[in-house]
Subunit: 344 residues, 2 copies
Amino acid sequence: MSIAPKIFGLTCLTLVLACSPPGDSAPQSESAPLDEAWSNPLPSWNDGDAKQRILDFVAAVTNPASPYFVPAGKRIATFDNDGTLWAENPLYFQLLFAADRVRSMADEHPEWSAEQPFKAILEDDREALEKMGHAELGQILAATHAGITAEEFSTIARGWLDTARHPRFDRPFDEIIYQPMLEVLSFLRANGFKTFIVSGGGIEFIRTFSLDAYGIPKDQVIGSSIETEFRVEGDRTFLMRLPELHFADDKEGKPVAINRYIGQRPIAAFGNSDGDLAMLQYAAGGDGAKLMVLVHHDDAEREYAYDRESMIGRLDRGLDEADRWGITVVSMKDDWRRIFPWED
Amino acid sequence: MSIAPKIFGLTCLTLVLACSPPGDSAPQSESAPLDEAWSNPLPSWNDGDAKQRILDFVAAVTNPASPYFVPAGKRIATFDNDGTLWAENPLYFQLLFAADRVRSMADEHPEWSAEQPFKAILEDDREALEKMGHAELGQILAATHAGITAEEFSTIARGWLDTARHPRFDRPFDEIIYQPMLEVLSFLRANGFKTFIVSGGGIEFIRTFSLDAYGIPKDQVIGSSIETEFRVEGDRTFLMRLPELHFADDKEGKPVAINRYIGQRPIAAFGNSDGDLAMLQYAAGGDGAKLMVLVHHDDAEREYAYDRESMIGRLDRGLDEADRWGITVVSMKDDWRRIFPWED
């Protein structure tokens, strides 16, 4: 039952209670008109080195006359999710979901009113929450993510996304996504790339919104996973989710999972934290043209600013090693004209 | 180092030596002209219940006016490989590869001339081979499939497929594939299905030929896998294959892997042995239209005949439970007009 530490690398749930109560969801933003997509495929990126590197890379690998040409079947691009495609503050969104789920399950579990760590969440006991360690976080994830079928979990997670709202931006969590990255995803796909998510978050959680939010189908989502068991009851067959970690898709686990799920080395990889460095090194080790990008959260005004000291999405070694591995560091403040799809 | 038993469920390598020496490879067969593909999408299938069930199923799920309509993104079809897409006699082809690899590695391992189980393979010692158990098979797979990088393994496996020949049909192993199943794959894809391999065989082995042989890209291949480790040596990054089983994609493991890799229940599933029954039950448990198929090897003249008593690809419980789960049992003898692409 040690799910949490490896998935989230976070020792307390202090910020869980910052999550506001459920509200209505709003429609997804619309994409840019087709003609603009062709003439200016990255309209939310300011002109500069980062944008130019992306454009040059795509031009090189798609031009059959280029020495860097890559056939379409090998145009694999991998994207971290938390902090790269959607935000991760005030806390990884999946942990906010877990805390909301503890609250919504409390009626079925009267014992939780006297049992930690559940009591702390239900009572908004910040002192107790601050003392929480890996074991407690594991208990919360086991109680909220296991003991139900895969299909039941998807329905529950999707229901949360349809009702919960981000505490700062007051919108559904699956709208707190980065418009510049949506443009990169579309631009790559329009150029024959297959785009994958490779996240430390839970694979089944991300699959509930990946297609609508990012245009990425379920089978192109890779993430951390718990064990499941196939069961037959009469004519009913299903997968039961067990409270046991199967695979932590973080750090050195990311290249391992990429090989296991995709079967080839990506030529483009995007991340934002030290947990993505191994994935970027894996891409960097390939022959031919490759593109490695780290999104640097340096814009407290429009989003959040955090890096070397952050408990969430720490980016420390990645900044030190960016030059050595040819990684492009994107400044959200300077390189992104717009952050979210619903902004003007 | 107990790779073999779970992957192959086979206790001896007796038949390994039936494999003939390497020869030249021949070109892939060509597919039928486009107009025939539309008017008669399954030309190698004889008219009958099996063919009709496939046609009716595809018509029902693709017709928006049908109560059984399924949107394209949910048209997931899964296929076993050994015995379903390609043959598995006289022995699973991957074991023939392993034995050939022992022979080709013998110069680097002079100790093998005195060490079982390698000695038995090198000397064609049928008595010793017949006594081989799981531990010995595990030793062979560890020696031949691990201790190299993922990319090195792919090159070696692909090289074997380019030179080795099937002992009976005297053609490269990746041509010993079933023409009627190639037509099913094409027909499903032409109707908006995404086709996946879900095999008990090794995932990286199958990925070396899945695209050329079946039109299935590497990231749509699911199989058994060994552990790998991400390593950085200077500027070189790679995945080292370790002699340790990660996941046995057989029996109840197949639905587990389908959920893990694909993230949704298939609406069509094809297999040929008891190892595929759980996958077919998983498809059968879904709502709406679904198609479950077992290929019955009952044609000794054109291919092989085996079922309830076979050590390889045993089909026993599957035959007993076919009716209960609505599984269509395909007779290779009666339902298939042609077996292999290179036949007239």
